[in-house]
């Protein structure tokens, strides 16, 4: 059982009429109780098991909101978005993530002939431009909100990005 499954179990428990539940499996023990009237959940997770991904007790598929239908091969291959599940997964693992605040086309430089705003390894300061996102013919400059070193740049230059997509990973300092 991983964290998202526990989160789901909490929701199931919250919506139920029962007062207490304890689930134990392969070294992971989860105990939840409702307090009379206050309705608060206490989650005890044994430290060694809680973070380790191999503590997951059930096949992922049985818990993850299972797609009721599979997308066709053509549809997934034609998806135009630059970011992938992998990149966003990678993004969440490390430092501070700058995400796309709007839908548009991602450009690393203010014009095709200019040098990029930043390169991986550069040090940036708050307010410094990182890229532009073109939306409805307008160039929207995206600024860093932290001081740090640019660890990764996720989208390719000139590719579309959608809302909330990770753009940069910055190691704060």
């Amino acid at each position: 059982m991983n964290l998202s499954e526990i989160k789901k179990l909490i929701r199931i428990f919250e919506n139920s009429g029962i007062a207490e539940i304890e689930v134990e499996q392969e070294g992971l023990r989860v105990l939840m109780k409702k307090e009379a009237r206050i309705e608060r959940q206490i989650v005890h997770i044994q430290p060694e098991a809680s973070i380790a991904p191999e503590a997951s007790i059930t096949p992922e598929a049985s818990i993850t909101p299972e797609p009721p239908v599979a997308k066709t091969a053509s549809s997934s291959s034609s998806a135009p978005m630059a970011g992938t599940a992998e990149s966003s997964g990678k993004a969440t693992a490390g430092g501070h993530i700058v995400k796309a605040p709007m839908v548009g086309t991602f450009f690393r430089a203010p014009s095709p002939t200019s040098p990029p705003f930043v390169e991986e390894g550069d040090i940036v300061r708050p307010g410094q431009s990182l890229c532009v996102i073109e939306a409805m013919k307008l160039m929207n400059e995206i600024e860093s909100d932290v001081e740090g070193r640019v660890v990764s740049i996720f989208p390719e230059n000139g590719k579309p990005v959608e809302f909330d997509m990770p753009l940069f990973e910055i190691e704060p300092r």
Binding site: N15, P65, E66, P68, S78, V103, P160, D164, M165
Partner: protein, 447 residues
């Protein structure tokens, strides 16, 4: 024909439009808020773009994000569905300026019909009856008395700045008029800071009758029959049926004629719905025109055999209608029940996770829904979660089918309006067909 359509909506109507596109061989782009990432419309579309956070204002109403999504995916048209941006003339204009086809009427038509007083004048000039009343605001008690005499009591006094049921008073006879006028005027002044008042005939217990019209850009306009949408609570439709069980064939033709004449006169091009109040005497009055596809278009599809969303797309792409008014035949009877995620009697929204789902099937049953087991009905959006539509050879069969289908419909995890629908279907007033816009509220008092 379009190559790729972006659907600027969510839920069942987004799926409805994706289905029409698939059957027409047109690629689809779904847009969605972060909350809708796992929604069925996202899964069913060929591509999807996340356009903002859960709040509608920042996602499904976010014009720059939606236009940008169309641009980055090379969509050549946008279907707005209903609600959200469907009757937003400014949005239709932005689409036009960005060379993206808006699947709906021109911005000008949306604008003109969106202003209710303007729509009323257009209808009047096209020969449709409108609710009789004062020309603008009342200047004096004498004027009010003389108009009321002319249009006959009961009449309604309305504050120009009022709305939502406030600043209104029904007057049954002349002796009460002067004092009522004083009261409404002072109420309006203190409530809205504007004491101007107008007067119109009060229509008692009317039916809400609407005509589905369809017009192409080649001058062809036709009616696809009527719908009776009188089962309402606080102006929210709950059950719709066609043909209306009360309208005579001649009234139906007459009202349809007015709807077609209005569309023709203004040069309307798209699907549209012209709404009327129909009173106990068989008199009827234009109230407004909706310039979008409507929730209840489904019942018209059942009895005509046409796919209205496909026709809407074809019209927007410039195609000519492939049939004439004479080809339209009404087969049988169709009823729609709106299944909302609400407490069926308190009408409070009831979002939640779907824990179980049994969708009715068999002959004459249609279900449009975005629900699936473990999907979440979210508080951010409207509470309509499924439309259950039946088609029978006559009204009796349609009613039997609806009762049967409702009894099979199981949605676990949330409260829905299903029990209320069964109550309504069991009420004598509904069964008789002689129900009106006040019937549901009165039925609720008895339950």
């Amino acid at each position: 024909m379009f190559k790729k359509i972006l659907i600027a909506n969510r839920g069942e109507i987004a799926i409805r439009i994706i289905r029409a596109c698939k059957e027409l061989g047109i690629a689809t782009v779904a847009v969605h808020s972060t909350a809708d990432e796992h929604s069925l419309h996202v899964r069913f579309a060929d591509e999807s773009v996340c356009i903002g956070p859960p709040e509608s204002e920042k996602s499904y109403l976010n014009v720059p994000s939606i236009i940008s999504a169309a641009e980055v995916t090379d969509a050549d048209a946008i279907h707005p569905g209903y609600g959200f941006l469907a009757e937003n003339a400014a949005f239709a204009e932005v689409c036009q300026s960005c060379k993206i086809s808006f699947i709906g009427p021109s911005p000008d038509h949306i604008h003109r019909m969106g202003q209710k007083s303007n729509a009323r004048e257009l209808a009047k000039s096209a020969g449709a009856p409108v609710i009789p009343g004062s020309q603008g605001t009342l200047q004096s008690t004498e004027e009010a008395l003389s108009i009321a005499d002319e249009i006959k009591y009961p009449v309604m006094l309305k504050a120009s700045a009022g709305g939502g049921g406030r600043g209104m008073r029904i007057v049954q006879s002349a002796p009460q008029l002067a004092s009522a006028l004083e009261i409404v005027r002072s109420e309006a002044g203190s409530a809205f800071g504007d004491s101007s008042i107008y007067l119109e005939k009060y229509i008692e217990d009317p039916k809400h009758i609407e005509i589905q019209i369809m017009a192409d850009s080649h001058g062809n306009v036709m009616s696809l029959g009527d719908r009776d949408c009188s089962i309402q609570r606080r102006h929210q439709k709950l059950i719709e049926e066609t043909p209306s069980p009360q309208l005579s064939e001649s009234s139906r033709e007459e009202i349809s004629g007015h709807a077609v004449a209005l569309a023709r006169q203004i040069g309307y091009k798209s699907l549209g719905t012209v709404e009327f109040l129909y009173d106990k005497n068989g008199d009827y009055y234009f109230i407004e025109m909706n310039t979008r596809i409507q929730v209840e278009h489904t019942v018209t599809e059942c009895v005509t055999g046409l796919d209205l969303v496909k026709e809407q797309i074809r019209i927007a792409s410039g195609e000519k209608l492939r049939f004439t008014q004479d080809d339209i035949r009404i087969h049988g009877h169709s009823i729609e029940c709106r299944i909302n995620a609400e407490d069926p009697y308190k009408f409070t929204p009831n979002p939640g996770i779907i824990t179980g789902l049994n969708i009715p099937g068999g002959p004459g049953i249609r279900v449009d829904t975005a629900l699936y087991v473990e999907s979440e009905v979210m508080p951010h959006y409207e509470s309509l979660v499924a439309k259950l539509i039946v088609h029978g050879i006559d009204r009796a069969e349609a009613l039997a089918k609806m009762n049967r289908a409702l009894s099979e419909f199981h949605i676990g995890g949330i409260k829905t309006t299903i029990p209320l629908h069964l109550d309504i279907l069991g009420s004598e007033e509904f069964l008789s067909g002689h129900y009106h816009t006040g019937s549901l509220e009165r039925l609720l008092l008895r339950i």
